[in-house]
Symmetry: C2
Subunit: 276 residues, 2 copies
């Protein structure tokens, strides 16, 4: 593991590190905020998964999450959104390939060798973090924005017992029935749609739900509302009677200005679960 930068931030440290990933077969970069409390012992972890076109950096610099995490004594992990590099496959479109890994393990050419973001986020990176930092890996929660909200919800429901709480900002909520999903799941996982189901938050909510609290914020003026399909997830939550708070926020769009506005509440929501 290589330290790329470390900056004092809200009494703690915002670091950026890179490492050779077994899962993705390439070097991966991630951001990690450690609150001051980590000096005295392991602290709980909140994962933040980012959206299309983002790297580890966007949320780390634009959401203001560190201030709230510092207040709660919680670490924040900001993984990248895909494998990257010259030897890694890519696509001309912004919503496929590098910067758009969709948090799945690709099985199809040309993606299969490197696009294993599910394993990277759920296995490879947690092992590295647990080994190198004062993190209590028995207390983890997860959130994310857009494609990252999709990743957060699918990982939380797909790995029962791993995360104590899950939240999402304007998640891609029903990718198997959206142009933000069918193209990518088809490309990464192949034409057999049964392989897509574990990567659709609405289908997972229908089939199994989540054993813990759920918080979802969605801007009512989001320019991508038709692609995100929050109404499908809302219906699945209602039908299952899943304990969840789902809020349509009037006036808000898909931007980081929206995410930063509600970040305080999301971090406090996760802190309640992590310290319960």
């Amino acid at each position: 593991m290589k330290t790329l930068s470390e900056n004092a931030c809200f009494g703690g440290t915002q670091g950026v590190y890179s490492h050779a990933s077994k899962a993705t077969g390439c070097d991966m970069t991630f951001g990690l905020f450690m609150p001051s409390e980590a000096a005295d012992g392991p602290v709980p972890v909140l994962w933040y998964l980012s959206g299309l076109t983002c790297t580890h950096e966007n949320a780390m610099t634009k959401t203001g999450a560190q201030g709230w995490a510092a207040e709660q004594g919680i670490a924040l992990v900001f993984p990248d959104t895909s494998p990257r590099g010259d030897g890694v496959a890519d696509h001309d479109d912004f919503d496929m390939g590098q910067g758009a890994g969709f948090y799945v393990n690709a099985t199809q050419a040309p993606w299969a060798p490197h696009f294993r973001m599910w394993d990277y986020v759920t296995d490879d990176l947690p092992q590295l973090l647990g080994a190198h930092f004062a993190l209590d890996m028995s207390r983890q929660s997860i959130t994310g924005h857009s494609m990252g909200g999709h990743g957060a919800l699918t990982m939380a429901m797909g790995l029962p017992g791993r995360f104590r709480s899950v939240s999402a900002f304007s998640p891609i909520a029903h990718p198997t029935s959206s142009d933000w999903g069918r193209k990518q799941l088809g490309g990464y996982l192949g034409k057999d749609e049964s392989a897509w189901a574990p990567h659709d938050a609405t289908l997972l909510m229908q089939s199994r739900g989540f054993d813990g609290p759920v918080l979802i914020d969605q801007g009512a003026d989001d320019q991508f509302l038709d692609l995100l399909q929050p109404e499908a997830l809302a219906a699945a939550i209602a039908k299952r009677r899943q304990p969840a708070t789902m809020r349509l926020q009037p006036g808000y769009d898909h931007s980081y200005f929206f995410v930063s506005t509600f970040m305080e509440e999301h971090v406090a929501f996760h802190a309640d679960a992590l310290y319960a």
Copy 2:
């Protein structure tokens, strides 16, 4: 004036606008955060001047200032740091020319035609803002980072009665004796150093001070400490017995992670003065 974007943000609106500036003779872009209170009438204004290489955008996306301004019912203005465009002079170095206007009115070739950032920030842009937005221009305060901290301090002291309070994050505090200053003031204003004095916070503090509260935060681990020379300004503050709070923050560097860490306190400091 042209609206480039408007995003809902902390109950208010983060806008980006462009306009043809008389002062700089080119199109200028600025950011403006209006809190929800502006719907009911004019709100006070806090100016944020940015540092070398920045545009209107950096502080607007990285400091988290809008959340605190929304809490206080204060508007935020984020001007650009120089004139820009194909017809505008530039320099190969990052600390001179476009992105590095140093908040002066240049008198020397090739800078004189456009590099009039003092007039732009103190005259041109305030007139535009007062005419187009629900802003109470009788209640203004000013802050900034690095080169922008220099601008905030020199404008606050250079225009008595204009600003109710001034603060700065790691300002260029004594440019007439620093490589961040001598080169630029010489280039923009010429060899006669008497023309530089109104653009040196330490010299202004020695000669006139500020009739209001002053807050300065400086990271003790700032990589540019030798160029910033906070000790010169501290000595001038002490000698004048200027009411001021000047803090060296252990561990912090020159980055936006430092600025965002102390932004809440700066906005609250200005709110005290603006609502006094």
